[in-house]
Chain length 131, copies 2
Amino acid sequence: MPFTPAELEYLTSQRLGRLATVAPDSSPQNNPVGYFVRDDGTIDIGGFRMGASRKYRNVKKNNKVALVIDDLVSTDPWKVRMLEIRGDAEAIDDAEPPRAGMTSEVIRIHPRRIFAFGIEPDDEGIQRREF
Amino acid sequence: MPFTPAELEYLTSQRLGRLATVAPDSSPQNNPVGYFVRDDGTIDIGGFRMGASRKYRNVKKNNKVALVIDDLVSTDPWKVRMLEIRGDAEAIDDAEPPRAGMTSEVIRIHPRRIFAFGIEPDDEGIQRREF
Protein backbone atom coordinates (compact mmCIF):
# COMPACT_ATOMS: atom_id res chain seq x y z
CA MET A 1 0.00 0.00 0.00
CA PRO A 2 1.79 3.15 -1.19
CA PHE A 3 -0.54 5.60 0.59
CA THR A 4 -0.44 6.77 4.18
CA PRO A 5 -3.66 6.74 6.25
CA ALA A 6 -4.01 10.53 5.81
CA GLU A 7 -3.57 10.19 2.05
CA LEU A 8 -6.17 7.41 1.87
CA GLU A 9 -8.58 9.54 3.85
CA TYR A 10 -7.95 12.44 1.48
CA LEU A 11 -8.48 10.23 -1.57
CA THR A 12 -11.78 9.09 -0.09
CA SER A 13 -12.88 12.65 0.68
CA GLN A 14 -12.51 13.81 -2.94
CA ARG A 15 -14.53 12.61 -5.91
CA LEU A 16 -12.82 13.84 -9.05
CA GLY A 17 -9.27 13.30 -10.22
CA ARG A 18 -7.60 14.50 -13.41
CA LEU A 19 -5.71 11.97 -15.47
CA ALA A 20 -2.91 13.06 -17.77
CA THR A 21 -1.93 10.67 -20.54
CA VAL A 22 0.39 11.16 -23.50
CA ALA A 23 -0.55 10.63 -27.14
CA PRO A 24 1.86 9.01 -29.62
CA ASP A 25 2.84 12.49 -30.91
CA SER A 26 4.06 13.37 -27.35
CA SER A 27 1.20 15.78 -26.65
CA PRO A 28 -0.66 15.37 -23.36
CA GLN A 29 -4.35 15.17 -22.70
CA ASN A 30 -6.02 15.80 -19.37
CA ASN A 31 -9.37 14.35 -18.32
CA PRO A 32 -11.57 14.56 -15.24
CA VAL A 33 -12.13 11.03 -13.98
CA GLY A 34 -13.59 9.13 -11.09
CA TYR A 35 -11.04 6.88 -9.37
CA PHE A 36 -11.16 3.82 -7.15
CA VAL A 37 -8.32 2.91 -4.79
CA ARG A 38 -7.92 -0.86 -4.57
CA ASP A 39 -6.78 -2.79 -1.51
CA ASP A 40 -3.26 -3.21 -2.92
CA GLY A 41 -2.86 0.52 -3.56
CA THR A 42 -3.36 0.40 -7.31
CA ILE A 43 -6.00 2.78 -8.67
CA ASP A 44 -8.68 1.91 -11.19
CA ILE A 45 -10.13 4.47 -13.58
CA GLY A 46 -13.32 3.22 -15.15
CA GLY A 47 -15.82 4.78 -17.47
CA PHE A 48 -19.00 4.32 -19.41
CA ARG A 49 -17.18 4.29 -22.75
CA MET A 50 -13.64 3.70 -21.51
CA GLY A 51 -12.69 1.23 -24.25
CA ALA A 52 -13.45 3.78 -26.96
CA SER A 53 -11.66 6.64 -25.25
CA ARG A 54 -8.49 8.29 -26.42
CA LYS A 55 -6.93 8.09 -22.93
CA TYR A 56 -7.36 4.31 -23.00
CA ARG A 57 -5.68 4.12 -26.41
CA ASN A 58 -2.94 6.47 -25.20
CA VAL A 59 -2.16 4.15 -22.27
CA LYS A 60 -1.87 1.19 -24.64
CA LYS A 61 0.93 3.03 -26.45
CA ASN A 62 2.57 4.91 -23.55
CA ASN A 63 1.94 3.56 -20.06
CA LYS A 64 3.12 6.65 -18.16
CA VAL A 65 0.31 8.58 -16.48
CA ALA A 66 -0.14 11.27 -13.84
CA LEU A 67 -3.31 11.48 -11.75
CA VAL A 68 -3.81 14.56 -9.61
CA ILE A 69 -6.37 14.96 -6.84
CA ASP A 70 -6.55 18.40 -5.29
CA ASP A 71 -8.76 21.03 -3.74
CA LEU A 72 -8.58 24.71 -2.98
CA VAL A 73 -8.76 25.15 0.80
CA SER A 74 -8.63 28.94 0.75
CA THR A 75 -8.06 31.69 -1.79
CA ASP A 76 -6.59 34.24 0.65
CA PRO A 77 -4.07 33.01 1.46
CA TRP A 78 -3.99 30.81 -1.65
CA LYS A 79 -3.91 27.29 -0.21
CA VAL A 80 -4.17 24.11 -2.25
CA ARG A 81 -4.00 20.52 -1.03
CA MET A 82 -2.90 17.96 -3.55
CA LEU A 83 -1.77 14.46 -4.22
CA GLU A 84 -0.11 13.81 -7.56
CA ILE A 85 0.31 10.15 -8.40
CA ARG A 86 2.67 9.33 -11.23
CA GLY A 87 2.90 5.77 -12.32
CA ASP A 88 2.71 3.00 -14.85
CA ALA A 89 -0.74 2.19 -16.13
CA GLU A 90 -2.29 -0.88 -17.68
CA ALA A 91 -5.18 -0.75 -20.12
CA ILE A 92 -7.14 -3.81 -18.97
CA ASP A 93 -9.89 -5.20 -21.22
CA ASP A 94 -11.66 -7.50 -18.81
CA ALA A 95 -11.56 -5.96 -15.34
CA GLU A 96 -14.34 -5.93 -12.82
CA PRO A 97 -16.19 -2.67 -13.60
CA PRO A 98 -15.43 -0.34 -10.67
CA ARG A 99 -19.00 0.92 -10.64
CA ALA A 100 -22.34 -0.32 -11.94
CA GLY A 101 -22.85 0.58 -15.59
CA MET A 102 -19.17 1.03 -16.33
CA THR A 103 -17.53 -1.11 -18.95
CA SER A 104 -14.95 -3.83 -18.25
CA GLU A 105 -12.17 -1.72 -19.73
CA VAL A 106 -10.19 -0.09 -16.95
CA ILE A 107 -7.01 1.95 -16.65
CA ARG A 108 -5.15 0.55 -13.65
CA ILE A 109 -2.41 2.76 -12.19
CA HIS A 110 0.58 1.36 -10.33
CA PRO A 111 1.94 4.31 -8.32
CA ARG A 112 5.69 4.87 -8.75
CA ARG A 113 6.07 8.40 -7.41
CA ILE A 114 3.79 10.38 -5.13
CA PHE A 115 3.91 14.12 -4.51
CA ALA A 116 1.84 15.33 -1.58
CA PHE A 117 1.16 18.83 -0.37
CA GLY A 118 -0.97 19.80 2.61
CA ILE A 119 -2.23 16.27 3.30
CA GLU A 120 -0.29 15.26 6.42
CA PRO A 121 -1.11 17.65 9.28
CA ASP A 122 2.53 18.26 10.27
CA ASP A 123 4.24 18.29 6.88
CA GLU A 124 5.53 21.43 5.27
CA GLY A 125 6.35 21.80 1.61
CA ILE A 126 6.00 19.10 -1.01
CA GLN A 127 6.54 15.53 0.16
CA ARG A 128 7.89 13.11 -2.44
CA ARG A 129 8.13 9.33 -2.27
CA GLU A 130 9.13 6.70 -4.79
CA PHE A 131 8.24 3.02 -5.15
CA MET B 1 -10.69 34.92 -28.83
CA PRO B 2 -11.12 31.15 -28.91
CA PHE B 3 -13.70 30.98 -26.12
CA THR B 4 -17.45 31.51 -26.28
CA PRO B 5 -19.15 33.82 -23.76
CA ALA B 6 -20.42 30.79 -21.80
CA GLU B 7 -16.92 29.31 -21.72
CA LEU B 8 -15.41 32.59 -20.53
CA GLU B 9 -18.05 32.78 -17.81
CA TYR B 10 -17.23 29.23 -16.78
CA LEU B 11 -13.49 29.95 -16.72
CA THR B 12 -14.17 32.95 -14.48
CA SER B 13 -16.38 30.93 -12.14
CA GLN B 14 -13.68 28.34 -11.42
CA ARG B 15 -10.41 28.96 -9.62
CA LEU B 16 -8.22 25.92 -10.12
CA GLY B 17 -7.09 24.26 -13.33
CA ARG B 18 -4.84 21.25 -13.81
CA LEU B 19 -1.95 21.55 -16.20
CA ALA B 20 -0.50 18.47 -17.88
CA THR B 21 3.00 18.79 -19.30
CA VAL B 22 5.33 16.14 -20.69
CA ALA B 23 8.86 15.46 -19.46
CA PRO B 24 11.70 14.63 -21.87
CA ASP B 25 11.26 10.90 -21.10
CA SER B 26 7.64 11.14 -22.41
CA SER B 27 6.06 10.80 -18.96
CA PRO B 28 3.37 13.32 -18.01
CA GLN B 29 3.04 15.39 -14.90
CA ASN B 30 -0.15 17.03 -13.70
CA ASN B 31 -0.29 20.10 -11.47
CA PRO B 32 -3.05 22.20 -9.91
CA VAL B 33 -2.59 25.77 -11.09
CA GLY B 34 -4.27 29.13 -11.06
CA TYR B 35 -4.92 30.50 -14.56
CA PHE B 36 -5.53 33.92 -16.07
CA VAL B 37 -7.36 34.34 -19.38
CA ARG B 38 -5.91 37.24 -21.36
CA ASP B 39 -7.84 39.53 -23.68
CA ASP B 40 -6.53 37.74 -26.76
CA GLY B 41 -7.64 34.32 -25.48
CA THR B 42 -4.21 33.08 -24.46
CA ILE B 43 -3.94 31.79 -20.90
CA ASP B 44 -1.18 32.62 -18.43
CA ILE B 45 -0.10 30.25 -15.69
CA GLY B 46 1.98 32.01 -13.07
CA GLY B 47 3.48 30.92 -9.82
CA PHE B 48 5.56 31.89 -6.84
CA ARG B 49 8.47 29.70 -7.94
CA MET B 50 7.48 29.11 -11.56
CA GLY B 51 10.98 29.50 -13.00
CA ALA B 52 12.31 26.71 -10.82
CA SER B 53 9.44 24.34 -11.50
CA ARG B 54 9.61 21.14 -13.44
CA LYS B 55 6.53 22.06 -15.49
CA TYR B 56 8.28 25.22 -16.68
CA ARG B 57 11.33 23.21 -17.70
CA ASN B 58 9.08 20.63 -19.37
CA VAL B 59 7.46 23.34 -21.51
CA LYS B 60 10.88 24.57 -22.63
CA LYS B 61 11.56 21.10 -24.06
CA ASN B 62 8.07 20.10 -25.22
CA ASN B 63 5.58 22.89 -25.78
CA LYS B 64 2.45 20.72 -25.88
CA VAL B 65 0.21 21.12 -22.83
CA ALA B 66 -3.33 20.29 -21.73
CA LEU B 67 -5.16 22.41 -19.16
CA VAL B 68 -8.42 21.09 -17.78
CA ILE B 69 -10.96 23.06 -15.78
CA ASP B 70 -13.88 21.07 -14.45
CA ASP B 71 -16.34 20.61 -11.63
CA LEU B 72 -18.66 17.92 -10.39
CA VAL B 73 -22.22 19.21 -10.67
CA SER B 74 -23.88 16.13 -9.18
CA THR B 75 -22.85 12.63 -8.15
CA ASP B 76 -26.24 10.98 -8.81
CA PRO B 77 -26.52 11.17 -11.69
CA TRP B 78 -22.77 11.59 -12.18
CA LYS B 79 -22.50 14.93 -13.95
CA VAL B 80 -19.25 16.73 -14.70
CA ARG B 81 -18.75 20.00 -16.55
CA MET B 82 -15.41 20.51 -18.18
CA LEU B 83 -13.29 22.51 -20.54
CA GLU B 84 -10.09 20.88 -21.74
CA ILE B 85 -7.72 23.25 -23.50
CA ARG B 86 -4.92 21.68 -25.49
CA GLY B 87 -2.38 23.94 -26.99
CA ASP B 88 1.11 25.17 -27.57
CA ALA B 89 2.78 26.83 -24.61
CA GLU B 90 5.60 29.30 -24.25
CA ALA B 91 7.86 29.47 -21.21
CA ILE B 92 8.28 33.24 -20.91
CA ASP B 93 11.01 34.62 -18.67
CA ASP B 94 9.96 38.25 -18.44
CA ALA B 95 6.17 38.41 -18.45
CA GLU B 96 4.00 40.68 -16.36
CA PRO B 97 3.35 38.60 -13.22
CA PRO B 98 -0.34 37.63 -13.41
CA ARG B 99 -0.78 38.20 -9.69
CA ALA B 100 1.08 40.15 -7.00
CA GLY B 101 3.97 38.16 -5.58
CA MET B 102 4.26 35.86 -8.57
CA THR B 103 7.49 35.72 -10.51
CA SER B 104 7.97 37.04 -14.05
CA GLU B 105 8.23 33.50 -15.42
CA VAL B 106 4.93 32.49 -16.97
CA ILE B 107 3.62 29.59 -19.01
CA ARG B 108 1.48 31.10 -21.76
CA ILE B 109 -0.93 28.75 -23.53
CA HIS B 110 -2.11 29.29 -27.09
CA PRO B 111 -5.27 27.18 -27.40
CA ARG B 112 -5.29 24.90 -30.44
CA ARG B 113 -8.07 22.49 -29.54
CA ILE B 114 -10.90 22.89 -27.05
CA PHE B 115 -13.11 20.13 -25.71
CA ALA B 116 -16.18 21.31 -23.82
CA PHE B 117 -18.80 19.33 -21.96
CA GLY B 118 -21.81 20.74 -20.14
CA ILE B 119 -20.80 24.38 -20.60
CA GLU B 120 -23.22 25.64 -23.25
CA PRO B 121 -26.82 25.30 -22.01
CA ASP B 122 -28.11 23.59 -25.16
CA ASP B 123 -25.18 21.41 -26.13
CA GLU B 124 -25.19 17.67 -25.71
CA GLY B 125 -22.10 15.49 -25.68
CA ILE B 126 -18.56 16.70 -26.07
CA GLN B 127 -18.03 19.78 -28.26
CA ARG B 128 -14.69 20.01 -30.02
CA ARG B 129 -13.18 22.98 -31.83
CA GLU B 130 -9.80 23.58 -33.41
CA PHE B 131 -7.79 26.74 -34.08
